[in-house]
């Protein structure tokens, strides 16, 4: 067992892990942050996406022991400081950018990272940013619309 300490959603967390425990299993099973989902466990579907030091990564392809001392943001950490939904989360609700909700946290992470680096993304840039996240419900249409809406609202000053 390895003792690890990392920052999750701004809070220092630690725990005992087996070397083979993936980051997503650590987040879900040890920290009980179940907003991040497991879809394929081989790095294709993107459901397990989290931010690692601010960058979206697949948490099924990282062993928890590897991220010692690093900073992880999950969907639970995307809300505003007062706990209300971020503009992006709210925009997903407005356009109904989801159905079953299973891929949604990964989509939000991918979109959040996109908007952090590109405030006015084209449709192509949006599709590229979520291109590594599979969704079987929406045909991506209302997800793209949600990200476009969020970009517009943020450009209009909403935070």
């Amino acid at each position: 067992m390895h003792h690890i300490t990392l920052k999750v959603n701004g809070v220092t967390r630690s725990g005992e892990v087996n070397a083979r425990t993936t980051l997503v299993d650590f987040l879900r099973d040890t920290l009980r942050l179940t907003g991040t989902h497991v879809g394929c466990e081989h790095g294709i579907c993107g459901a397990c996406s989290v931010l690692l030091d601010g960058e979206p990564v697949r948490s099924c392809l990282i062993f928890a022991v590897q991220v010692e001392g690093q900073s992880v943001t999950t969907v639970e950490g995307l809300a505003k400081p007062d706990g209300s939904m971020s503009v992006l989360q709210d925009s997903f609700c407005e356009t109904h950018g989801l159905q079953c909700g299973y891929c949604t946290s990964g989509m939000l992470i991918a979109a959040h990272a996109l908007l952090a680096s590109n405030a006015t993304p084209s449709e192509h840039a949006i599709r590229d940013a979520i291109g590594g996240n599979l969704c079987r419900c929406t045909g991506y249409q209302q997800i793209v619309e949600a990200i476009q809406l969020a970009a517009k609202r943020r450009a209009g000053g909403e935070r």
Partner: protein, 802 residues
């Protein structure tokens, strides 16, 4: 039928869904989120052989591993549980979660390991030693029906599990009389909806109460009953928690075998047990592959393009076991001529067993493959006659004034306006400009084609295929229900009876309750009962919930409204007919002085028995159980039956470009005209339609559960089973139309399978239009890169082009 829909207050309006906030904040509650103290984890030992005798199983090494609690094999398990139900009359096709004596497909579960963690369970599963004696096997369904083929279930005596020839109308006469005939073969490949969440189940047995609690990612009619039956428990000993969020299903989340196994393990071990399929188990042994069909189509038609008769032979490979899968050949009986006026049809469905993973229900329950074969037929008739594909459709489409329209297989279509929807789709697509663009692409040396598909979505699912395909089954009831409570605070709660996999049922119920009771849907709570609290339901299958749950909610709300009116009339001293109900308040006519508010009426109902009219139950709650409209009849001797009550319609128009050298297709423009009657929640309907189209794009171009000749699944990971991403799915446009159904509460029809029922046909139409300059075509899905290359290459060689 084309009267404009009446004005609604909440129905048909953009409104945020009730479900979305919990998912965007990561606070949904999926089965893998269920955490019980002391819970143990299951991993499965799978057969490497497509067919083999199990000679011996040694579990000592696995049991010796620290953290391993149990290893259960088929011998023990099958003796302790009952075989699962088969949808057709084939009692010898027995099916259990664990194989006993023989395995019938590669990936079939042979033993279950229970351990302290999933990782340990996987370690132990590797240590279970199984000695197999390989047996002959059959992978090709056409070989499976030949006399000397190895039998998948020898005691059944044949690999055919269902076969019947239906003949409706003067088929032979039409074929004799018609100017022309064509015949061809079409193949629909084995694919599935493949939700991003695999199937999962948690079970916990309370010895003291004798209740087995089950949390599962389930979408299955009569699920609790089947679990109880297989576990030899009374129905009231199984409590299925329907408040589990289901991470996508679209038909496949049936999980009987997983749940019976997990329930058995929980009861045997006295601890909570969880089985969450990993993706490898899910793809190979999760039994969720979809229809796998060979269509032999014959069509008789006149030189003006009028279709006179059809003969359809559909051979479907259901894999090694069958539950409801053969019935997926039965549902299309209710829309066997599609949206066309064809009065003579022969239909021969044949359901065949092979040594493949078992088939399960997939979005559309067999209708999407049938629509694909029908639309290919229309396109081929047009090509043969050198007439426009749209003109041929227009000639044969049922006209608006012909509804209700009886088709030869005995089903009456409720309503529709197919010509108008097709026109709307063409207009929205900019059809003339689309043709100009296609022709410009062709001139530039590319292959380009326009696809057209006009397809039906039968909705409001009844079970009429059950008695049709199994004479021993005379089920005709297929009800759904809703319970509505108004509590003492005046707040409204709707109780629904099954789980939800993204269809937004909480939004549906709250919208309908708000509409009828004239109360703000945002204030209405909707909860999912568990199976011991639930009213009867048949779950969200067959595009039925807008119709059935919507209708049940409306019925229950009307009872509440009626009760309030009766209470008001009694207390205001007038007849109920004099009460005007507005926003939940009741007044005598428009007289504001003779008025009781919602809160006052609710208080009387709950607390003032002395003010309650005689005969009215105190408290304020109502249930409504509703049978499917038009339901209740058994099939005739000729196999005529009303299959489903309502018929939605979709017209797809798509432009595809194919790189002539690399064979890469690209969808340039996609438009879908859609009529599902009155939309209760347009955002939800549109979302499901977009998703259905994307799923259809996958089935048409990318997705296939392929097997090697030696019986192994060769696309068992997401590296090889290719689902379209946001790159492959283009921007999608929908053109709405509304022809209300006369059979439903608000004129609504179903839409849960929308998009998928026409997209594969539309893409095939587009690809074949693109290939037409090469004088070649493709009648097999998926139209892979490789398949397109080989068609293009063969055509080039044929034409003598290098």
């Amino acid at each position: 039928m084309s009267a404009p829909p009446k004005q609604f207050r909440y129905i048909g309006k953009h409104r945020r869904t009730k479900e979305d906030p919990r998912f965007v904040t990561g606070t949904g509650s999926f089965v893998a989120d269920v955490q019980l103290p002391g819970m143990k984890h299951v991993a499965l030992v799978a057969s490497p052989h497509p067919s083999a005798r199990i000679c011996a199983i040694r579990i000592d090494a696995a049991m010796a591993l620290p953290g391993v609690i149990a290893v259960v094999t088929g011998a023990e398990y099958c003796a302790a549980t009952e075989s699962h139900l088969v949808g057709v009359d084939a009692p010898a096709v027995r099916r259990y979660a664990l194989a006993n004596d023989v395995v019938r497909y590669a990936g079939e579960w042979v033993a279950a390991v229970v351990a302290e963690s999933r990782a340990l369970a996987e370690d132990a599963a590797e240590l279970v030693e199984v000695n197999y004696e390989p047996l002959p096997f059959v992978m090709d369904p056409e070989k499976a029906v030949t006399p000397n083929a190895p039998l998948v279930h020898p005691t059944h005596g044949s690999n055919v599990i269902f076969q019947r020839t239906f003949s409706w109308g003067p088929v032979e006469q039409r074929f004799r009389e018609a100017d022309h005939q064509l015949k061809f073969r079409a193949r629909w490949a084995r694919s599935a909806t493949v939700p991003i969440e695999t199937f999962g189940v948690v079970a916990n047995w309370h010895r003291a109460t004798g209740i087995l609690d089950v949390w599962a990612s389930i979408q299955m009619p009569k699920f609790p009953d089947q679990i109880a039956r297989s576990l030899r428990l009374p129905g009231n000993a199984v409590r299925v928690h329907f408040d589990v969020d289901v991470g996508g299903s679209y038909g496949v989340k049936r999980g009987i075998k997983h749940t019976v196994l997990t329930g058995y393990l929980a009861m045997k071990l006295g601890v909570p047990v969880r089985l969450i399929e990993d993706r490898l188990e899910n793809m190979r042994g999760g039994d969720m592959h979809g229809p796998d069909r060979i269509f032999d189509m014959q069509v008789a038609f006149d030189r003006d393009g009028t279709i006179r008769g059809l003969k359809i032979r559909a051979l479907d490979d259901v894999g090694a076991y069958a539950g409801r899968s053969p019935l997926q050949l039965g549902k299309p009986v209710g829309a066997i001529c599609g949206p066309y006026q064809i009065d003579a049809i022969e239909y021969e469905p044949i359901s065949v067993l092979t040594n493949k993973t078992a088939q399960e229900a997939v979005r559309g329950f067999g209708q999407a493959p049938t629509n694909y074969a029908l639309e290919l037929t229309i396109d081929r008739v047009a090509a043969f006659l050198k007439q426009d594909r749209i003109a041929i459709r227009r000639r044969n489409l049922i006209r608006a004034e012909q509804f209700p329209y009886l088709i030869p297989s005995g089903t009456t279509y409720d309503s529709g306006d197919y010509h108008t929807v097709l026109t709307k789709a063409l207009d929205a697509a900019g059809y003339e400009a689309l043709i100009a663009k296609r022709d410009a692409l062709r001139r530039a040396g590319n292959l380009a084609g326009i696809g057209i598909a006009t397809c039906l979505e039968p909705s409001g699912g009844n079970s009429s295929f059950e008695p049709l395909f199994n004479p021993k089954n005379d089920t005709t009831t297929w009800m759904d229900s809703c319970l509505v409570r108004v509590d003492l605070s005046g707040a409204i709660t709707g109780v629904m009876n099954t789980s939800t996999a993204g269809q937004g049922h909480e939004t549906l119920v709250s919208t309908v309750l708000g509409e009828v009771l004239e109360r703000d849907p945002n204030t209405i709570r909707v909860v999912h009962a568990d199976s011991l609290n639930a009213l009867p339901s048949n779950s969200p299958v067959g595009s039925r919930m807008a119709i059935m749950l919507g209708g049940a909610a409306a019925g229950a709300a009307r009872k509440i409204k009626d009760a309030l009116i009766v209470i008001a009339a009694h207390n205001l001293g007038v007849a109920a007919s004099e009460i005007v109900y507005a926003d939940g308040n009741c007044s005598v006519g428009r007289d504001a002085t003779k008025r009781l508010t919602w809160d006052q009426l609710v208080e009387i109902a709950h607390r003032k028995f002395h003010k309650l009219p005689a005969g009215l139950e105190p408290g304020l709650q109502a249930k409504f159980v509703w049978e499917v409209p038009t339901g209740g009849a058994l099939p005739t001797a000729e196999g005529r039956i009303q299959m489903y009550p309502c018929f939605s319609f979709e017209a797809h128009v798509v432009l595809v470009e194919i790189d002539a050298l690399t064979a890469q297709p690209r969808i340039l423009k996609y438009t879908c005209g859609h009529d599902c009657g009155v939309m209760i929640s347009p955002d939800i309907v549109h979302g499901m339609t977009y998703g259905g189209i994307a799923h259809g794009i996958g089935a048409a171009l990318y997705e296939k559960f392929a097997f090697t000749d030696d019986g192994q699944l060769s696309s068992g990971t997401f590296m090889d089973y290719l689902m379209p991403s946001a790159h492959e799915v283009p921007s999608l446009a929908i053109a709405d139309h509304c022809t209300p159904s006369p059979l439903t509460t608000f004129g609504q029809k179903g839409s849960g399978e929308a998009g998928y029922l026409g997209a594969p046909a539309a893409l095939a139409s587009a690809i074949n239009d693109a290939l037409s300059p090469l004088a070649t075509s493709i009648e097999s899905l998926p139209m892979t890169r490789l398949a397109l290359f080989e068609k293009i290459e063969a055509a080039r060689h044929h034409k003598g082009i290098a």
